[in-house]
Symmetry: D2
Subunit: 393 residues, 4 copies
């Protein structure tokens, strides 16, 4: 069996077999080393090489989304799932939509035996996450989906989260998991702080533009929109169907906790402090996130320069696509997938541009990017288990 | 029966009778003249004073919304309803939700006898409206809900609508119907060009601020969101439930036809050309509109100045409310009503502010404001027939 | 001012003035006695006759719906509103959509002074309601929207609600408030047990058919569908937007608490025990309820007999409409209104029929029927404050 | 590489590797023959064995759903896609959500070269489909998703579709594609008539019960609910977001075209004519279908017998699951998947039962079952490309 042919199976890309263009693309992404990793020593890739994954906090939406994605992952298996308040229950009692799956029962974290586990997705609430990760065995690779290790400056963490950081040493070790921007660091990381959904949708378009000095970093205005799953699964009156449906509302105006993370990411590439205007809006839909970003062009820069710079920055990326001129990204086009779609438009006010980016807040904005990161951390192609087309309609 | 007591009936405000604060408010709004008009010559206000209203284009959403509002209007009765392609049919065949009502059948405009009609709401598509209004008898008061008479500069009309204006003389006569801003002109108008939904939601907060020189008119960024009914009732693939639900999309980026209307209204008070950044977004809800407006403060101006100026500008208005500090307006709070709710928030970027305004696009953004205008044009209190509380949930 | 003219104002039916057919209908509904009642002793209907209403439990959806309806009621004013856990707060802190209204602040029931109150809507949860109503002053007219006084047989209450009834004497006094069926009893009642939403939508079509012996009472199958507001406003995981949207589920299969109420109502007219098959379904919409009822015709009976019997039964009713042959009732057609729309269809299986009825669960299914009842109890026309057309779209 | 290990990759079931129970299940489903087929002659499964698939009518929802499913299919590749009115366009102009995929452009059927194609999914409207399939080369395996070959009795076709059948010979050849019921016939078929969504959701629970004589076939009452995608993608007023959202309506009462297909399927196992009561309801959600089926038990039969019979009938099936006692199937639990979930409940009326089944109307109700069938027709395991977990929320 030739490596090339099997690689197609491995990447679940059978639909492209008869398309020469696509083959070129696949080849570019898969160097020999990756293929060897994927196939590994002739024999049994699953039983010998498979990664045994734990999901900490499997009763929330990011946890169940990890489960969904792993269902089509050729190398990762679920070894254990925790949910302290639901310990002892089958996952189907928490998520009836998983009742057809043969999954381990939920256990309490304290009862988890991590000696048979290689890596964990940590899907716990911020605040408590620090202590828990501090207590995990050191052999584990960890992708933390909470906010607890995203801010490098722990004084900023204290300011926005109202409590001192309890694991400052781990914070120093943590790598920020914006895959396309920090891929090499992620590959070698033991602990990855998976980015927030808003920060992902905002940094992906802005980082290449700031890096290339194409926009003014002093006047970035972001009007972002999110589906309701971004608020998690806790039973709150303001998240009831009756309260959310058929309406729209801004929230956290000027003080949403994703602000420091956004500004940190932009400042890193700008090499100077960045303050952004950021307003999130709750939209009556379950998933999806869109950021409309209003920017001023740097002197002499044209809209087309932005478009080309983004095209260039992401031409080799599988999960970030810059659309053709004039095509408006839609959240429906990424539902259930790890894609981020971006485009740039001229503003009526000369010297300005409008950037629109869309992601699925639970995939590229959470569990999908987490899996992308763990793939890298374990030495696999980053797209394993992420070959989903959007569920539309 | 005392005038005061009856006025309460007239204004359907019975729920306030036991509330002294409210009585003060009512008295302020109702001068003697209005009360006399409303009650009129001892006797039969309905049969003698009632206004006979025609609805041209009753098969669309703005038409049916006029019908809904008139159901609780003490002075207006529906004399005729037209819908050329549905002529001869009962309204229930077009709008099953009106089947319980005793309404005249739909007729073709050419068959309408306007001699028994005092006023018309013109709910027809732009373009054809000009010719039709040109042909109407001159005794009619007209509120036109199309875009055809909103732009004073007919060359601008031609630019944005792709055809020369066919009734330039009528255009000169037309008064722009943003009630709170042009109330006195509207009272004496024969033809009112009812504002678009986006322009209403944007001008109401911005006009008082520009008038008071509190904001920079060169850097106004508007990210607006609309429910789907704003697109009307035509059967288009992109408006299907399956295409719209569970997603979000910007549209008409940088070239939405409401732009010149918005800029015209702001330029009028600024006394100079105004160019705004305007991006509308389609939200998966039936009704509701929110405009997030990002502005730069004029030198020395503070957020609180904006809040106070808006409070001042609208303190006597029934339908525009400036919320208390920190309260975020929600579209759910105006659903089915003629209210516009506004608030101002500090931006993270110093020297800037975020203004949020919400309306129901079919009421204050269309048929409600149209009725408010016709009330004024006929000499009635402007709130007749508009006493609806939001339908929530 | 003539009685006729004022009656039109009183009934908010101005839109019908130019429609001779409608006048006939109005005259039929308004006998002299009602008009006199409505107008009362020459003078000030509001200040002298007005009914001072209390709302117990104003922080839930049925409470806020009462508030919405009273906004256009010419005779009822709100004297007090209670919500124990929110006592001391303005209603706008609980329902932002009411922030434009001048309403009394919320108080605790124990602090309510009922000496200035004529009637109360009791919008409290079942169970606690019994004790509270037992403690209310006897001069109060009470419409109870909970389930606590709906079941005549208190042993049945205990069976379905898991606790003994604590006010059996009051239970004997309570009149079941299905207005069209028990109008005369309601007029003289002091305590009305307002029907549940499902029972209302089911009894309205079935009672006349059973009364006329047109259907077999042994084989009634009901598949009913409800919007989410039927579940109230409590923060439960299964009512979150994310859990409800884009899906459908049956619930309470074979054991929904509305069953004994439905069977009691049908047994009353059948004069024998009735057992029905009843399956409710939760639909991703905020309001609206539809019951599809599958019945066997009595020997010799035809579909058309059912249609005619229903037409006959409801021909003088304002709020129950039997549609023309073949027209399918839609929940959208009653949204925000007190209407019940009914129709009958032939089944493919000979000798059977399908009955479809729709209501708004919060209006005819709760607060609207409650107001209809209180109107009657206070001697007013039952349609006061209920003149709303559906909010569509 | 051992066959066993690869089979896991082939089945994308990596998540089960550490679960001994699951291994047993997989082994049962995969006999040696299937594994050989899947892997085939040592070498290149894709380039030598891969099936080249055409999609006729790729611009509708069933077409795009086939594309979505094939993205994770290891053996099928898309060779051509037709859409006559969109010929020459890229698929992204019709379905923006597919713009990230490298797919062939749309062509007209008349321009399709079928010599390089092994099989087609025919996703065209009923009526025209007959002629088109008649004209296709005979070497093609065909799964037809239209209604054109579902009714064995062509006079019945003419009665329900209003035109004589134009390919009666093909009709004789066609195999009805209800996979779990007619698997062996499907394996050898050249033309499969893929079942309708309602018939699938109804026959799967009823066929085993009728076969075992457990229910009365004379009194089957079905109240079914469907998401809006069941109506396809044509631009019709009644399918607009504004018309469908926040409401519910029955349609096609007593005369829905799926009735003869349902009755044919049940009659086949009952060996006598079956007439059912069938009422479909349109639900404001994009996908999902639920059938509530009310049945009378045969003499002496108990609810538990039904449950056990269904458990038994489907114990070896991957895509049909009978839930544990008391668990209510929800449409959210199958969204985006090929599963059918079933359960049985006691009715309040003795001697009766309530059966609830749910599917995704676009997957098990259309494109998923179509792929399941083509897998069988081509000699592959039927679950290839169908390993999706539900998208929830």
């Amino acid at each position: 069996m030739s490596a090339i042919s099997f690689s197609s199976v491995c990447f679940h890309s059978a639909h492209n077999w008869n398309n020469p263009k696509e083959f070129g693309k696949l080849r570019k992404q898969q160097d020999g080393k990756l293929l060897v990793k994927c196939l590994s020593k002739s024999g049994n890739p699953i039983s010998q090489n498979a990664v045994r994954v734990g999901i900490l906090g499997a009763s929330g939406y990011t946890g169940s989304e990890v489960i969904r994605l792993l269902a089509n992952h050729p190398q990762f298996g679920i070894a254990l799932m925790t949910a302290d308040r639901k310990a002892g229950q089958p996952i189907s009692s928490v998520f009836p939509h998983l009742s057809t799956q043969d999954l381990p029962d939920l256990i309490a974290i304290k009862d988890a035996n991590f000696s048979d586990v290689d890596a964990v997705f940590c899907c716990l609430p911020h605040g408590t996450t620090q202590e828990i990760i501090k207590g995990l065995p050191k052999h584990l690779k960890i992708v933390d989906l909470s906010a607890d290790f995203r801010l490098k400056d722990i004084s900023e963490y204290e300011e926005w989260y109202g409590q001192p950081h309890r694991a400052p040493d781990l914070q120093k070790e943590a790598i920020y998991g914006l895959t396309e921007v920090l891929r090499e660091e992620i590959k070698n990381a033991r602990l990855v702080a998976n980015p927030g959904c808003y920060p992902t949708s905002i940094q992906l378009p802005l980082v290449p533009l700031i890096k290339a000095n194409l926009i003014d970093i002093k006047n970035i205005t972001i009007d972002a929109k999110s589906g309701v799953s971004g608020a998690g699964r806790s039973a709150k009156e303001n998240l009831l169907f009756t309260e959310v449906a058929e309406g729209l509302s801004s929230y956290g105006v000027t003080r949403h906790r994703h602000v420091p993370e956004i500004e940190q990411g932009l400042a890193d590439v700008a090499s100077s402090k960045v303050t952004v205007s950021f307003t999130p809006n709750l939209i009556p839909m379950r998933r999806g996130m869109q950021s409309n970003i209003y920017v001023y062009l740097a002197p002499g820069v044209k809209i087309e320069d932005l478009h080309q710079q983004l095209k260039l920055a992401y031409e080799d990326e599988e999960f970030v696509a810059v659309l053709e001129n004039g095509v408006i990204p839609r959240t429906q086009s990424v539902q259930g997938t790890n894609y981020c779609l971006i485009n740039v438009f001229p503003d009526r006010i000369p010297g300005r541009a409008i950037i629109i980016s869309v992601i699925d807040n639970l995939v590229k904005g959470a569990s999908g990017q987490a899996l992308q990161n763990l793939n890298l951390m374990m030495g696999f192609p980053e797209n394993l288990g992420l070959h989903y087309l959007p569920l539309f309609p």
